[in-house]
Symmetry: C2
Subunit: 295 residues, 2 copies
């Protein structure tokens, strides 16, 4: 655990229409002292430059799903993001290397969902979890979401170096800057950098547990035979991130105004409800378990 | 004033990522009785079908800026929306005709700005203003924005037939459905249809005034020499549509956290603050005068 972190990467614009990360990178590049500490170097970079240019999530495909080892080694894939991912892997990886260019990456995202300040994590790496526990202690309103969907061959930017954290902040529309989202995201970044400095100086304390929302299931919107959405997120769940749902609670309301209720036996907490980018992925929300885990 | 309205057009998806209109058209097409009245026909149609397909605002250019008489007559313009606008003009116009296919168009839009339920109007047509005054009486929280920016050769869908109303509802992200926005927009549509029916039956009363926000000036975000935005909408104005600003009030906050204040001598009310689609148009907000006008 006490191996020093030599280089931290802060990455923004992995999704080109999530402007918070794009502009935080602008800010950090113009003011490097803000992300400088004594014990490590910090690299700040824009990721999907083509998508940033046109203010879209991606050019051909979601960059943040292209970093599997399988895809990084597949030279038959030739869409824009397929090549870009290989270049980024050279810059902050390579993935799986013992001597990566960056030891820890902090990837900046936003969501149209009411996620508040949150960290999404899909690794079991102990250092990453210690950093997250520290940030939650510094920022008590921070929520932690553990994603277990693709741990075998993870596809996120955060999976490239040995240690990786994804920051998700919302609600904010795509293509928009908001001061609260911007400065809130910056607070989380600063807390992570503070932790790395403490760790490198041997001053970090050891955390033994963390409060998390644990991924259970992704569910789609109700759709008709043509694949068109026939119901919207229920108003009781809109702007109500992390809400607890129990059997019989309304989940959706049809275009005609009829409620559709949750049929599951287990109570769950909802995340990522009504995220714009997930309509095409056929996800309306993620159902999770709220729990305390041992670190 | 008592010439009957024979056909009303309800149009959605003029901007393909404003899903509220797209799905209201789905709903009305599946349930035509909802928009049927005894005295007129109703046509419901999707507008920018290419943009709806890819869930973007437009394919090549903003369709809602292509309906000038000049552009409609210019066959050297060959981008996607240049051709589409000519086809739509055949379907609900032609513009300037004494016998248009549609007498009144209701064009459905949303915004990421905190506009609530609002109507944008850029015509002096007395019938349109009577309809709007009726709707404001039925829905007191409705705001009316009078746009005077391009009255010489108007470019909006609402300018095609003799009578035209643009509904703008927000805040809502692009690419998202919200139940409150959806049903709120439908309420405004229904009130307009009710007015047309009253008018056709000779039962409409004559309104003599309306409370409006009158366009004065569009202002951009602060930018650096490279054209990059250097400041965001001030938190005091975010989620605060129609707020009154006076000299010295903060308008923006820089990425570094410094306030930038309003320097104008005249108090104004702000509209369309932080609309995603206006970043590329270099508009951060519209400054308006709140006033009561005679009809």
């Amino acid at each position: 655990m006490h191996q020093a972190i030599k280089k931290v990467g802060i990455t923004g614009g992995t999704h080109g229409n999530e402007l918070t990360g794009v502009y935080l990178i602008h800010k950090f590049q113009a003011n490097p002292a803000l992300v400088k500490r004594t014990s490590f170097e910090t690299l700040c970079m824009h990721m999907n430059v083509g998508a940033i240019e046109q203010c879209t999530r991606y050019v051909d495909k979601d960059l943040n799903r292209t970093f599997t080892l399988k895809a990084l080694e597949d030279y038959t894939l030739t869409e824009y993001e397929d090549s870009l991912s290989k270049v980024i892997n050279q810059q902050i990886g390579p993935k799986g290397s013992d001597t990566p260019a960056v030891d820890l990456v902090i990837d900046l995202h936003t969501t149209t969902s009411d996620m508040g300040l949150s960290i999404c994590v899909s690794t079991q790496d102990p250092f990453t979890w210690q950093a997250i526990a520290y940030v939650q202690e510094q920022i008590p309103e921070l929520h932690i979401f553990r994603w277990n969907g693709d741990t075998e061959d993870a596809s996120f930017v955060s999976s490239i170096p040995p240690h990786g954290i994804t920051i998700e902040v919302g609600p904010i529309p795509q293509g928009v800057l908001r001061a609260d989202t911007f400065f809130g995201t910056e607070r989380v970044v600063q807390a992570i950098l503070d932790y790395v400095e403490l760790h490198n100086q041997g001053k970090a304390i050891q955390y033994t547990e963390a409060d998390i929302y644990d991924h259970v299931e992704l569910i789609d919107y109700p759709r008709n035979a043509q694949g068109e959405i026939t119901a919207m997120l229920h108003p009781s769940l809109q702007d109500n991130g992390y809400a607890k749902i129990e059997k019989g609670d309304p989940l959706f309301v049809t275009l005609e105004g009829k409620d559709i209720c949750y049929e599951g036996e287990e109570p769950r907490h909802i995340l990522f409800a009504n995220e714009a980018a997930y309509y095409e992925k056929h996800f309306s929300m993620c159902l999770t378990d709220k729990k305390t885990i041992s670190l």
